[in-house]
Amino acid sequence: MNQGLLLAVNSIAMGGLLFLLASGFSLVFGLMRIPNLTHGSFFMLGGYLGISVLGKGPDTLSQVSLWLGVGGLPPDLAFWLAALLAAAALAVVGGAIERLLLRRLAGQELAQVLVTLGLSFIIADLCLMTWQGDPIPLSPPPTLRGSLPIGHVVFPIYRLATVLIAVAVAVALWLVLDRTRLGAMIRAGVDDPVMARVSGIRVSRLFTLVFALGAGLAGFAGVIGALILSVEPGLDTDMLPLALIVVILGGTGSLPGAFVGSFVVAFLENFGQAWRPEFAYFMLFLPMLLVLLLRPQGLFGRHAP
């Protein structure tokens, strides 16, 4: 019973983090029709950047941050600042990548996917050069410290907080998609890119924006994720397949799909691990495979990838 409760709450926490990771991936996949294979690297880079802003890393950026006095800031402020700065930095990186590289390959989706693959190699090595190979843990800011007893088990608050953060981001994204012109354009582009272009939407500009948004979300997720997972080389290749599974299950371009999918995957991972650790990955990828074969548009998606 305790075991089940522990797994359930951990799954919920993980699901929150996965949503933060997968939402950006889903938007890009839905709009640009490509699985952004650099997404895991964006996540990892975001985590590293957050760590540097907080001065916790072995790199020069960390030195600079410490020198600038980040240690003197109230730790809560510092943490959220780090998260937002990482998001912003990744948004800039993402926007630049789309504008300078992907846009030149407009219409050649396969080539774009390959470029994102090559970029993941580049970013991974740059991170290794800058932050070295040791895992860097990040401790939660004071408001998220402490623990909450649920039933007979005691849970760290920061884990539960990831869900709230995920919900907050989900609501924010939903508001943007549903209530703003930008959101309407994105939804139009996801539904029917040809019609969208014909009706005057500057699709290429939209692509840059959404790719930047996706990267920014990944970067933000990376900092939040740094609380739960230590940031280390290989984190990108650990997280990318998870984002892929979530989005395939939930449906590309669908936020509700990414939301539901994240929790489904988190539960599958945690309970699967507990039940049969040797088939853990199997049980994650098998549903993805089945969906790709039988219902390619996923649970909530509009069209097949």
Binding site: P35, I122, M129, F282
Partner: protein, 325 residues
Amino acid sequence: MSLRLLAWSALALLGAVLPWIASDYYIDVASQVLIYAIFALGLNVLVGYAGLVSLGHAGIFGVAAYAAAWLVAAGFGHLPAALAALVAIVLVSALYALLSLRATGIGFLMITLAIGQILWGLAYRWIDVTGGDNGISVPSRPAPFGLSLMSAPSFYGFTVLVFLLAVLSMSGFVRSPFGASLKGTRDQPRRMTALGYNVWCIRFAAFLFSGFWSGVAGLLFCYDEQFVSPGMLTLGSSAEVLLMVIAGGSGTLAGPVVGAALVVIMKNVASAYIVRWNLVLGIIFVAIVMFMPEGLVPGSARLARWAYAEWQRRRRAPAALGSER
């Protein structure tokens, strides 16, 4: 045409004298180049000739190696282990094909990725069978007809033979009617169906052929390292061999070989001088996809032809200008 022949002859010569002029370390690197060249040639059947990009081929590579390693470690002889591995390769390739050929393009890519990840997950987590991260050690190398392959030059010789077989088979395949059918399905699948071809069957057969050679490469790898581990089947590993094919030039026979040489040499030899070889590879890959998508081999040939034509033009230009007085 003769330039190409010259290049191949020079390389063949180098390959032939290598065991006498280089140290064991470099001979082993050469063996690795050939092993990955076979792997890349196998993948190229799909990427270059069928127009299907797979990001899961490391799974086939790995299954072959694990099958042989597991059987040898369990006490079976090398011959039955190798034969069983070959059967496993065909079965796994068929599985990949049945599942992934339901799509093309990005859908195909993701299905092969998923299958590759499943196989990696099994290698990594099914510790009872695969040993997990600890891998499986292979105590000896095969001894075909009683000849030992334990020394670097002898193993190299064996690898060269297999490589030549692979190249011969590829070359025959590409020039055959079936090869032409396959290339047709790459360029105009709709029309091919209207012309009477069974596009799915053609692709299925091509997948088996592709998987076969990638699996053979996996077997050779297993014998070379005498150790198999989950690292062989990662997404990174599939990405690397794809990089070899695309960087070298898909749709040619020389391309994957050049690509394999580039990557392996960079990993082993250049890593003494260039510490961050992943970075360099990534940059080369992005540059090629963006500016020289046909790959290094055709791209360099094109550049060379352009440079030669330019040189000819400039040589003639002064005389032409002079005569226009």
